[in-house]
Symmetry: C2
Subunit: 470 residues, 2 copies
């Protein structure tokens, strides 16, 4: 091994080039700091290479294919000849990821951030070593930002090395469409996989574990999602214990106990939900006296600092949620704070979206959370079936639910499923951020006809004023 004599010096070192890391690096560089970014694999992290981006591409392909069912409604003929070629979608996935990683590399270059390829480990709380093949280089830093993410592993005991037994991002690597995919899980990732493959034409079965009657959203949203899964002909087993998933010949035998008794399913493929395991092992955190939880996650403050205030951590490695949106926000905060700005993140208003049978979006308190926190609430839900624009696009499944505090009329939460729910969440985010009252939401004009009117009428309904609600 060749050890570089000269220790490179940087204001800020960022370890990890996922969304948390590259946002941290660019924001710090925008604020005038000398920054280097160390990544051992490809820039973009799990999100860009394996998770968010592939999943949304698959969801979009699924939604597009499924929308063909209503082409006749718009006078468009010939849709029966449409079909999916999964290998072509895989090709597009590779192209897209390549383009996006190249885009991030270009952004790093534009902001004069040094790109270092290799594996980082702390030497002290002001030095990091980077190993790449035969070389080992030392970097001195003023501040460091850890953004090494996590690997996703199932918490179920599964036979490993089996092509028909999937977890994490495996489904997005398939070259052929599964005939019957059985999924064990209830998180948004599992829901997205279930919906995409169902739309492609795969038979899909979803198993919720013994603890779970439903999904982790507002109860009204859960009910509508359950209805749409049924409509999509996805069979859902609730409160079910997985006994085993055994590959046999050309299939997987899945044995389970539901409240209705013991059952065995035969599937072409089986998927188990994965949990994040922090990438902290090779970092030698002890050399910089950085504390971790027993599971290896790094606790952080609202300024994203670790117990060592010169060292920050952001994203999946911090166990603060596992959403790219959080990694991005924390990355910006870390970049700003490390560059000397006052900057904090607020874990309370974090949007959650999922591209299920229909897109789903949720921000603020659920009705149950609001009641649990002692609020007296008003709630209202507005069905997309009553929205004119949803009628025009023949996309009437779903609803918008809003929750406000009864006494003050201040908005507390937004939970929607259906066309436009993801785009409209920003309206709720803006209102929540500014402490908006219902009056602030219903006073302005909203375009007509538009899906935006579903938001307007949902909020009007809190005051008994929705015109189109039946």
């Amino acid at each position: 091994m060749v050890v570089g004599d000269f220790a490179h010096e940087k204001d800020i070192l960022v370890i990890g080039g996922g969304p948390g890391g590259y946002h941290a690096a660019i924001r710090a560089a925008q604020l005038g700091k000398e920054v280097a970014l160390i990544e051992r694999k490809r820039i973009g992290g799990t999100c860009l290479n394996e998770s968010c981006i592939p999943s949304k591409l698959f969801a979009n392909a699924g939604a597009t294919l499924q929308s063909a069912h209503k082409f006749e409604t718009f006078g468009i003929t010939g849709s029966s000849s449409l079909s999916l070629d999964l290998s072509k979608l895989q090709h597009q996935k590779s192209e897209l990821i390549h383009a996006l990683t190249q885009g991030v590399e270009a952004l790093l270059k534009k902001h004069k951030i040094e790109r270092v390829q290799g594996s980082a480990s702390f030497i002290s709380d002001s030095e990091i070593g980077v190993e790449e093949q035969e070389r080992f280089e030392k970097y001195k830093f003023e501040k460091a930002i850890i953004a090494t993410g996590a690997v996703y592993q199932p918490d179920t005991n599964l036979p490993s090395g089996e092509a028909r037994v999937l977890t994490g991002a495996d489904p997005y690597e398939l070259e052929e469409l599964p005939e019957h995919l059985v999924l064990y899980g209830s998180d948004y990732i599992t829901l997205e996989i279930a919906a995409s493959f169902s739309k492609f034409g795969t038979k899909v079965t979803l198993i919720l574990d013994e603890e779970k009657e439903s999904f982790p959203f507002d109860q009204t949203l859960n009910r509508e999602l359950m209805r749409l899964l049924k409509k999509q002909q996805i069979n859902v087993y609730k409160k079910t214990k997985l006994l085993h998933a055994l590959p046999k010949d050309d299939m997987v035998e899945i044995s389970l106990v539901s409240p209705k008794g013991e059952t065995t399913l035969e599937a072409s493929h089986f998927y188990a939900m994965a949990q994040p395991q922090p990438n902290t092992k090779s970092l030698r955190l002890e050399a910089a006296s950085i504390e971790t939880t027993s599971a290896g996650f790094i606790p952080i403050t609202t300024t994203t600092q670790t117990n060592n205030p010169r060292i920050y951590a952001v994203g999946d490695v911090t166990a603060s949620g596992g959403l790219a949106v959080e990694a991005i926000k924390q990355g910006k905060v870390a970049g700003e704070h490390a560059a000397g700005e006052n900057s904090e993140w607020d874990p309370d208003i974090c949007p959650v979206i999922a591209h299920t049978v229909k897109p789903l979006a949720s921000v603020g308190l659920t009705e149950e959370e609001a009641l649990h926190e002692g609020y007296e609430v008003s709630t209202n839900q507005f069905p997309l079936a009553s929205n004119g624009y949803a009628g025009i696009t023949a996309d009437k499944d779903g609803m918008v639910k809003v929750i406000s505090e009864k006494e003050t009329d201040v908005l507390l939460g937004y939970h929607a499923i259906g066309t436009g729910s993801v785009e409209l969440i920003s309206t709720a985010i803006q209102a929540l951020e500014m402490g908006g009252r219902i009056e602030d939401m219903i006073y302005p004009y909203y375009p007509h006809p538009s899906i935006n009117e579903a938001w307007l009428e949902a909020t009007e309904g809190l005051l008994g004023k929705a015109v189109h609600g039946m």
Copy 2:
């Protein structure tokens, strides 16, 4: 003619069942008033029966057909066999309009609003007569709301009664696809017709009149729209005088003078932009001493009252703009004010949308307006080509432009074109309504990956902080 002896008595009479009228009626009924709604034709008005709804259905059919070009990108094969059957789309239009009008009728019934079929005219400022075939009934009222709308007529001299010479909503009545459609106009209605038929496969030419170099939006938005029209292969003649449009055999000969000289075009169909002419003639407004402008429009206050405070007017008949969104807002205000509430409308923050080559949305001040009003402004535009989600959906044309006041960082305007621009306008509407500062927009989290991030990065860019802007 049979004259009813008994004068019916109502708290509030609404004349006209378009969006302005039915919103006024329902809102007043929600507030406990006895309401009757008089309509001489079909409920829903111009918007539902002829304009907004058909145009958005056609735009959606066009967008769907055009999206087929990128199906291969998602691995979906067989899209080359897709084509439009205009007569089937016409059938769907009729079904949709029928369903929506039935929906409004049901809402009126639910709110116990008496539906009166016939032509209304004032007898005094407390009585209206309604004529329907052989019957004439008298209605006494406390308050009346005029929502009779307008008819749309071209301000160009055109040969009338010619099937190939179109105006107003005529294009949405065509049963066969025009081969070459030449449009004379620059408003959002003309732009929507141009885009829809171009996507259906019609050759489209657009003529802007002598005064017009471009469109009535923010200049940056105009430039991007002009680029997209070119990309869509819609030929645009700017600053052009129409000499004549003469039907000849199976075509229309259109003669014009552009800055490049005199030209003659041959088209299968010609369309001329229409202007609203208020439906006030048969109302006998003088019997209630209601003043009109010389063109017949009814001036109103911010409470939607006419010069006679017991009588309100809303929508196209008031000449306040000609957008359904305004009619709806004014209708609600009229219903509330007539029912005794304090209610006003603010003409300043009115959103404008149009489903052109890509959807387009605009609210607040344009850059030119802001400068004209004496603001020192910051502006930023974020191209969708730099948004990851736009890459995923292969829908990268367009941009989001935001304008803020330099000194205060208060948002002044939002002008966007491209996928999601209509849905995201509500975020800007909410921020404008609450006097949001840029900090209020960039502090929260936005879902990743999503088109919503284009709004975030556009606003971050105002402070030089957009991560993905190149």
